[in-house]
């Protein structure tokens, strides 16, 4: 009768001795709830789960926790969430439909900005090139300048 707890304890120690290294070797858990919360949206709130505070968000968190505990990878968890809620659950927008604008618009905006800056720089350079060159100073002008400077120097002295 008294042996039963000892046998159970020995079985638990030996089992944990086998399973713990196996889980560690598999890298389990392969992600954390916190890491996944930035990749998954709260559908009702329209913000990433990390920022969400709602009953629906709590249900999503519970599902993610179960998947993390099952040792699923981030990709597998994302796939499971998409299977459960549809593609809109992902924080990263899909590359099709209207959502493709989320990918295209920044690229187009950067290209337009680069074109605009390039255009402005080119026009400034062209304007500088178009400025007429001054005629060289003649000997008479130099003599007049010297005389003016000399008169200023005399007045100040």
């Amino acid at each position: 009768m008294r042996r039963t707890p000892i046998i159970l304890l020995a079985a638990w120690i030996s089992l944990s001795g086998f399973t713990a290294p196996a889980l560690a070797a598999a890298g389990c858990p392969r992600t954390t709830e916190v890491a996944m919360e930035s990749k998954i949206m709260c559908q009702v709130c329209g913000v990433p789960l990390a920022l969400a505070n709602s009953l629906e968000a709590d249900r999503e968190r519970a599902l993610i926790s179960r998947l993390v505990a099952r040792c699923e990878s981030p990709t597998q968890i994302e796939a499971a969430m998409v299977a459960e809620y549809g593609p809109s659950i992902l924080a990263t927008p899909p590359a099709h439909g209207f959502a493709i604008t989320a990918w295209l618009v920044p690229g187009i905006a950067i290209a337009a900005a680069a074109l605009g800056i390039g255009g402005v720089l080119l026009s400034v350079r062209r304007r500088r090139r178009d400025v007429p060159r001054l005629a060289p100073v003649t000997a008479a002008e130099e003599a007049r300048l010297d005389a003016a400077l000399a008169s200023y120097t005399r007045r100040d002295g």
């Binding site: 629906e56 999503e60 459960e84 809620y85 549809g86 209207f98 604008t101």
Partner: protein, 184 residues
């Protein structure tokens, strides 16, 4: 004399128009439609948006069109929504009450985990058809902003009444019962 815009002017105009179009599309995509409410307020019945969803319990696909000829109370709910839990027994009672008179209650579970939704159905002993809309496609079409919301669809497939919030006995009596008597 007016100067015609040059290439740069056209490019700026094009870019501005593009940004405005994108902003408009984004706003339209995220702004809930109130067309059904407006139609009802004007005494009209707008045709119900199409619904084609899988069943939450059987895997069979249902369409709203298949219910043409019946009065349908389309109820959007989620298992995490407490008012939905409070409302469900009333819908179950009404589902049994109107079935023989050509009425159906159809639940649409939205933004929910299927296992949680199935537990909800089991716990509350709900027997009316339950469809699954995990990404909220129907929610957007009907302009749903919260849960629960219900839409009473007449025998011709037009939306006759909307409940933005839980339905009550009074709502069902005043909106559903008159439609059941109307066979046209």
């Amino acid at each position: 004399m007016r100067r015609r815009p040059g290439l740069r002017g056209w490019l700026v105009l094009l870019a501005t128009t593009g940004v405005l179009v994108l902003l408009g599309l984004g706003l339209a995509a995220n702004h809930p439609s109130r067309g059904l409410d407006q139609a009802i307020a004007q005494g009209r019945r707008a045709l119900a948006p199409s619904v084609r969803l899988p069943s939450l319990t059987t895997g069979r696909t249902y369409t709203l069109r298949a219910f043409r000829g019946r009065v349908v109370v389309l109820n959007l709910w989620a298992s995490w929504c407490e008012p939905c839990r409070a409302e469900a027994p009333l819908l179950e009672r009404w589902s049994r009450r109107i079935a023989a008179r050509g009425g159906s209650v159809v639940g649409i579970d939205t933004f929910d985990t299927s296992s949680d939704a199935r537990s909800f159905i089991r716990q509350l002993h709900l027997t009316y058809p339950m469809l699954r809309d995990p990404s909220g496609v129907v929610k957007a079409r009907f302009g749903v902003t919260g849960f629960p919301e219900s839409f009473v669809v007449d025998r011709a497939g037009r939306v006759a009444a909307v409940a933005r919030g839980p339905v009550t006995d009074a709502f069902m009596r005043t909106t559903v019962l008159p439609l059941l008597g109307n066979r046209t």
